[in-house]
């Protein structure tokens, strides 16, 4: 196969030559040759839309596609950073998923995903290896707080099945805004990361529980979590603007801008995460501890999350230090925008630094290096206030899943030791 791709730019035509070295994305549906990734990380897309007037691929910005003599639209876009990216196709104004890839729930809908591969050595920690494998289970449970059946995913390590009496500590791990409880498995490869860490004896065997941030009381407004803003712009034109003054289409707090704002700032209602905390403590933790072989007590319980899930984790854990001893925020926590006051922020939980440090075994703040300085600022502020914390920076990555895979890979080995 030898193809020539021409993309029209403002100043003329740029032709790029694609050859067999353009490899199909690992997330393509079986047999689909496009999208494919070139060795220099350019990406070529192809879409069949024979009667369309204008077709674009949206990945980062919008890239015009060109219709060939065969009626297929193609585009080769500039080199992309490594890792997982959501993207979509725009066909005469309709924003849809590329039918050539598997879909992934992000921004509130099932859109396309592409994986720009790293060097295999760099990707080894989240790849399948010949080590003992755990599993990720889908489990339904009834929540009294929300009055609904909810679904969570539960990773259990290989040791859970091979040692049938042992009890295990638990990490509660959250996705970000517009995503759901499947994200850490589908986009994050939580299972391979944990399998590999545990096999290498870098992390203790543990259970990882992944639930859905969306938690409202019966009749409550779930639009904050469902990604209504973006959906509204796309297909749900009659949906009212989201609450909190951000209006339709506003991205999640923290998205792409470094650390997330504290509860009550950035347009979130001040009590936005309280129902989730109630649900977690009332319904989820008891279900998990009743169903699985769980080691008891706060020192066997951790919580972390990415972006909005990091904000939620800080809210839940800092308000319940009697129940959790480990806390992680991946591109999202409760600070980084200035205004931090150790005496009063987060209801004064940091006021007694020595007391806090004694209770909190690990306070972890992770971020991608291109997300901005907010998380580093928050870490420095905490350190200045005498609060022990771990700052982790993923080189060259943004507000995306590769940052969060790396965060988990650094965070999990610190737990339950």
């Amino acid at each position: 196969m030898r193809i020539v791709i021409c993309a029209l730019f403002a100043l003329g035509a740029l032709c790029a030559q694609g050859t067999d070295d353009c490899k199909p994305s690992s997330l393509n549906i079986p047999g689909a040759p496009y999208p494919c990734v070139h060795p220099d990380r350019r990406v070529t897309f192809r879409v069949s839309a024979p009667d369309a007037q204008k077709v674009q691929v949206r990945l980062g910005g919008a890239h015009d596609m060109t219709k060939g003599a065969d009626g297929l639209w193609m585009a080769t876009i500039p080199p992309q950073v490594v890792g997982f990216h959501y993207y979509s196709i725009v066909i005469d104004g309709a924003v849809v998923a590329d039918p050539a890839t598997r879909t992934f729930f992000g921004s509130g809908w099932d859109n396309s995903g592409i994986e720009i591969p790293e060097a295999s050595a760099d990707a080894a920690y989240y790849s399948a290896k010949d080590v003992p494998h755990g599993q990720v289970a889908q489990r339904w449970y009834y929540s009294k707080v929300t009055g609904q059946w909810r679904r969570c995913y539960v990773y259990t390590p290989a040791e859970y099945d091979s040692n049938r009496t042992a009890k295990f500590p638990v990490l509660y791990l959250l996705h970000g805004w517009g995503e759901n409880e499947q994200g850490w498995t589908s986009q994050g490869h939580v299972d391979f990361i944990m399998d590999n860490l545990i096999a290498a004896k870098r992390a203790k065997p543990m259970i990882v529980v992944m639930d859905n941030l969306n938690a409202v009381k019966p009749g409550g407004d779930a639009s904050l979590y469902a990604g209504r803003g973006i959906i509204s712009r796309r297909t749900l034109a009659d949906v009212a603007p989201a609450p909190g003054g951000r209006g339709a289409g506003a991205p999640a707090a923290g998205a792409g801008r470094g650390a997330a704002p504290a509860g009550g700032r950035g347009g979130f209602p001040s009590n936005w995460g309280q129902v989730f905390t109630d649900m977690l403590l009332t319904d989820l933790v008891p279900m998990v501890e009743h169903t699985y072989r769980v080691a008891p007590g706060r020192e066997n319980r951790a919580m972390a999350g990415l972006s909005m899930g990091g904000m939620q984790s800080f809210m839940t854990v800092l308000g319940n230090l009697d129940k959790f001893a480990y806390l992680g925020g991946f591109s999202g926590s409760s600070g980084g925008r200035g205004g931090f006051d150790p005496k009063t922020s987060n209801n004064g939980v940091f006021a007694d630094a020595a007391g806090f440090n004694k209770k909190m075994k690990v306070l972890f703040l992770g971020i991608g290096s291109v997300e901005g300085p907010g998380t580093k600022t928050f870490s420095d502020e905490l350190t200045k206030a005498g609060i022990h914390n771990v700052y982790f920076e993923s080189p060259g990555t943004a507000h995306e899943w590769l940052t969060w895979r790396r965060c988990l890979n650094d965070f999990a080995p610190r737990l339950f030791k």
Copy 2:
């Protein structure tokens, strides 16, 4: 909300009045009001495609949508049969998933799904109820036969966790052509069906293992399984015609036409399912029996599948009666097209009826009543030849998931007794 929908037909305009009684499909993304289902099972769709010239919804046939003053395209289509249906949207010739619904892997890609609800009493058996719940686990394992990491899903009943020494029988359960190992959970509700049967003591607690039909040796051609025909027509124009002489775009054997043909007929290569059988016996069964608490022996092992998965199950089990004692074909088996000869068909496995009946505890043939007479014919032929079998017919349903949910609900209680 009070809306008026106008659909243009050949003879003029038909206006249907929609009101609040049009309920969003349960498979919509959170917050999406469309597609919605009317009490008479008409369905209204809405798509944002502001610059498109022609938009259709494909569900059964193709239905033209109409662009409103707000730039949104809408259509209300005639009453649909109950149950799960795949569907897609066509925007200026591009076949894509409706961004307003969750996607489901069928026909080789992630397309849209809609659930036309049954009366709640009829749907109770596959709905979440206040009974002990098992879980469905995603598990990776390495296959020596295919030289690849494979993924299966494993349902374990609530008893698996509550009785931590008990051993359980296993049902191996397969999806159909163009689908994958996720189908029985996402489209089939296997977990709720089994939870409810077991809680009612109608079925024995059992493990259900759901794998992927796609199994080829290293370097082999997976196109038979990947739905390449349909994909080719849509986006993969340079893919060569599928093997077996059916050409691009041919539907799966058995799809929509009653019972599936025997191996070697209908364009399938005569040995098409042999690699899967080898993989199952060499890799999957040993992994399952090593990993889970499994009761030993053929009388604790069953296999069933739908459509192409039914064909596969017949091939695997009839060739390995020393390893399986229960067999189910849901809208797919190994007969029904004439030419059945009890002395020679399926390598003569039915020639000694008494011996066969002694070994095979349950031989189950299920079908939707509108799929055609093939399966009933096959059942009658078997009966005439003295082969005990169970014929189950789902009233009013087609080659779709509601037929297969009902088949499982009838089949599972017959196992391991």
